[in-house]
Subunit: 348 residues, 4 copies
Amino acid sequence: MHFASDNSGPVHPKVMAAISAANDGYAMPYGADALMDTVRAQMRALFEAPEAAVYLVATGTAANSLALATLAEPYQTVFCSPVAHIHEDECNAPEFYTGGAKLTLVGDSAKMTPAALTAAIEVEESRGVHGPQRGPVSVTNVTERGTVYTPGEVKALADVAKGYGLAVHLDGARFANAIVATGATPAEMTWKAGVDVVSFGGTKNGLMGVEAVVMFDPKHAWEFELRRKRGAHLFSKHRYLSAQMLAYLDDGLWLEMARAANAANARLVAGLNGVEGVRFLHEPQANMGFAGWSRAGHQRLHDAGAQYYVWEGQLDGADPDAELTARLVCDWSTSAEDIDRFVDLVRG
Amino acid sequence: MHFASDNSGPVHPKVMAAISAANDGYAMPYGADALMDTVRAQMRALFEAPEAAVYLVATGTAANSLALATLAEPYQTVFCSPVAHIHEDECNAPEFYTGGAKLTLVGDSAKMTPAALTAAIEVEESRGVHGPQRGPVSVTNVTERGTVYTPGEVKALADVAKGYGLAVHLDGARFANAIVATGATPAEMTWKAGVDVVSFGGTKNGLMGVEAVVMFDPKHAWEFELRRKRGAHLFSKHRYLSAQMLAYLDDGLWLEMARAANAANARLVAGLNGVEGVRFLHEPQANMGFAGWSRAGHQRLHDAGAQYYVWEGQLDGADPDAELTARLVCDWSTSAEDIDRFVDLVRG
Amino acid sequence: MHFASDNSGPVHPKVMAAISAANDGYAMPYGADALMDTVRAQMRALFEAPEAAVYLVATGTAANSLALATLAEPYQTVFCSPVAHIHEDECNAPEFYTGGAKLTLVGDSAKMTPAALTAAIEVEESRGVHGPQRGPVSVTNVTERGTVYTPGEVKALADVAKGYGLAVHLDGARFANAIVATGATPAEMTWKAGVDVVSFGGTKNGLMGVEAVVMFDPKHAWEFELRRKRGAHLFSKHRYLSAQMLAYLDDGLWLEMARAANAANARLVAGLNGVEGVRFLHEPQANMGFAGWSRAGHQRLHDAGAQYYVWEGQLDGADPDAELTARLVCDWSTSAEDIDRFVDLVRG
Amino acid sequence: MHFASDNSGPVHPKVMAAISAANDGYAMPYGADALMDTVRAQMRALFEAPEAAVYLVATGTAANSLALATLAEPYQTVFCSPVAHIHEDECNAPEFYTGGAKLTLVGDSAKMTPAALTAAIEVEESRGVHGPQRGPVSVTNVTERGTVYTPGEVKALADVAKGYGLAVHLDGARFANAIVATGATPAEMTWKAGVDVVSFGGTKNGLMGVEAVVMFDPKHAWEFELRRKRGAHLFSKHRYLSAQMLAYLDDGLWLEMARAANAANARLVAGLNGVEGVRFLHEPQANMGFAGWSRAGHQRLHDAGAQYYVWEGQLDGADPDAELTARLVCDWSTSAEDIDRFVDLVRG
């Protein structure tokens, strides 16, 4: 019963097979491998973006930080949600990679609204040379609270950004889950909605450790390559990154895994909603949910070895009725048995 | 006939098997996997350093830059060879990770001498607050020219550094090849010789992409973890790094592969030395050599599909007798057949 | 009628005289001038801190950024008010000088409370290596809204910081005005209240351009010197900075000027409070106030050449009764005539 | 007898008078003062560059570092002499301000040659994404060894740079002395020779602490303003910088002072050349020279209170005949009496 994170599950067997298949003799290093040519072509086809620059890195933080570094000057500020991964979970990597840009927190929830974004941008208006300058807007989809932006909602934010001449980055660590949840095409969710650069996640969705950065306007492509190398994120044996991404795209495996993860989440949500006293904090629209129930219920799960984060509250406490909130994440490999057993344990 | 680099060869089958074996269910992320506990214990045993801090990253540039960032302040300078990888081949990553420290180039060859190091350190002496301050010394072994420091030579440099209170870093991207070439133990080559932190390479020696950073004094351990995360080099699915390194250390596979690479290089050197007109620039002591011969010979190799870097000179030129220098690198998988065929083609 | 800022008024004649007096022949450069020895001794006496390290720079942003750079690691976050100068008015200089540290905004007003500070620090608790680490707390006194912390209030914040092992910086761009407003001694307002480093302002209070950084524990003194030089803030002709600061401290000129500024502000506040329809947003406790009145009143002032910032609202608009907020700042040279004339114009 | 540096002499009385004259009532802060408008106009006229962007900062290191930060990307390298101030005397400020760019040392003397520059640029050629990329060329005139580039020599270097598409920066900390020495116009020494940005020094030539940065193509003007603010080098009471620079330009005071300094140096050189056993290391073409003579001669000067740097060798030593090298610098205020007395003491 593992619901701690979609980054602790196994790699899909097809991906493992692709890695093994790539392990044949010599290959050109540093992204000049033949597999990467295919990745690039497939990614451009997937995004209906024949000019896009496509690069691979091994961590989501690298994808986000390098993307932002090409979009933000060090005297600018990046607009994002107060719970954005780039703000809360990257130990100042965006500040490091941008050379010291600031992050301006927009509104008070995981999903930014056009009104909150406009207000935040306006605040940075009147200080001239004294204040940080307006920089890119970074949108996270799926959000860090398990909710999902529709393409229309992304476009509404991007329209605000464009109105101020600002670039738009999409942190798609769970891009596949958002695509499955909305039924949108990759193009609709990104450049057709005004996104300039997307971090196209794979690690949380069945890969070993690969994320793509797709830049719809390739003007920063060479700069990206230099910043990637300077950040120590250019792999010599790059073919093993390419092989993973290729297997991910082949036959829609990326969507198949996201569908499985979202379906597992839906089963878990349905099950928990049938338990009296369970309350979801946000609408769990993809593969992650936040729900509260009694400490006693958590204790039963803990004793049974269930793994997940207690998000608010402490397991060790006196009051068995106190409500503690859990973060529950499913991945492609979550089994129906584990979900049902988990729900039973909450029910008690 | 691939002699371009030891970073373009295949992963050893035992390593691939270990990665596959690790792909079983869930595992704690971010280095908390059980495999990493074993890696840490084995690495400490290997280095006879029970207190050492041990971390894994995926690229050699990350290992070097993060190690230097914990040793150098931004107002200091790092002493290294003018052909050091950290100077020539990391696109300013050390400057980036240290927050802007300088690199001072010592002497004029790949192997630093105590006299040249002393002179370089002394130059930074008299400027007080105006000049960069003296920072760590970084030694590369195997050097970028295929030569090897003995433990005594490393110690002589470290003694100079210690005399000025400076820390010592060892870039061991080809550490295994240096160990095999000298017969030294890992401890003799590092902390017993005065090295504080070593980048213990794996990628160039049969791994997919893993390097260890071993800090003999763990005082900077937590700082290293923070800098690794901030540099976007902390892997969520860390178990696959651990598995590679574990396979590498098990049963001395790391030495077995380095022995094979060094032996291949020796066969290549012996063969080429038997060809009239071939001249080695540096003594090829490990798995890499630099040798010159006529353009006509290079052309024959080129036509036969041999891959290697022409280090000095240009293949396309008029004079067939002009000498061009090649960099030739062997890895664990280089075959005797390829070597012999290569030598035959040089001979013409 | 100049109420735009205390950074646009003239230099006090005694300070100008001291600069001229210092212009005699040669003097040792880079802070080795004899005048600086006296500054250091006087500053230590003033703060009752015989061990303190004392340095001069030319801008408040330099004082703050360099002080924070010695206190914060790049993977940490600095706690400050959302309207702190270091956040709003330094164009990311703290991020630049710290190498990319973050700023965490505490509460929602210019004066931080211990409760809000505790809450902000606690938020940074549970993310381990993923989140930014807790760094120093920066307190601004006089605040950016013209309110003043008592020494007890500073101590209450510092007690929270110390409880978490965090250092405390005090941005005292208007330190003199806070001292005059509270009647505290410099020691009571700083190290006796738990402050580790203070930016001791002079430029806004009658100097040409000098701020002192006083570090009560000199452990970071040499690091500060190196960071100052590296930041290009070490003056060769340093004697002219020393001369200003010496004149400032001599015979309590610094307090005399702050008393004049605070008194001018009090006269202005009293006058405006006597005008119907004028409303102060914050209690103006030192030399700065924020007050609202009708657009018609602002228009009269504008036509008469009065200079100040309209903080909220726009002068050009249709409704003469609409309330616009002004920021009004007095300095040592503000005349009673100008104040009374200003009040008369508001009254209409 | 002060020959230690041109940064330790007094401010010219006309400059002091201008500062005092500027101290009248209120003035717009942050470079919006009316004096700055005149400075800008005069500087553009002086350089025959009506479009040039003109900014003032207080230190030479700030001028150089900010100029380079607008010209160099963090993944590039700056080409300069191995004894350039930006390399030896700025404690890594250029690395700091550029975000971690490297400095590549050209040749082995203070004056770069086109051949050495070409060779250095070519070295950075073949590494693709791995090596630092080619960045701007920085030329120092007067050099750090007291020699002077003619406009033709500057142009020859700039032609090399332009051939590679690289920008050219001129560190003119002693620009006035170079102009006087060569008889060139400011335009001939800069943009007509291919210089893009010049650090136009004032501090070493009779100002209190002001340098101008003149950018002949204003495309980076706003970026410069933001980087200046972020570097904490934007002065609120900017009028006092403007006043100094205005006095400097008025009636050619800047040239008058440089003429005096160069003439003093010529007298000193002539005097010392008349002393047996004195040897100049470089041709002293402006206001600085490096000369060697016996320790006994140095001892006599030391006992008489002469101030200068012993550049090579140590005053305290056994052999009275050992030759020690002195660096001798004259400024506008150096008196003939001091020079003659100095020469007499060397003569013994």
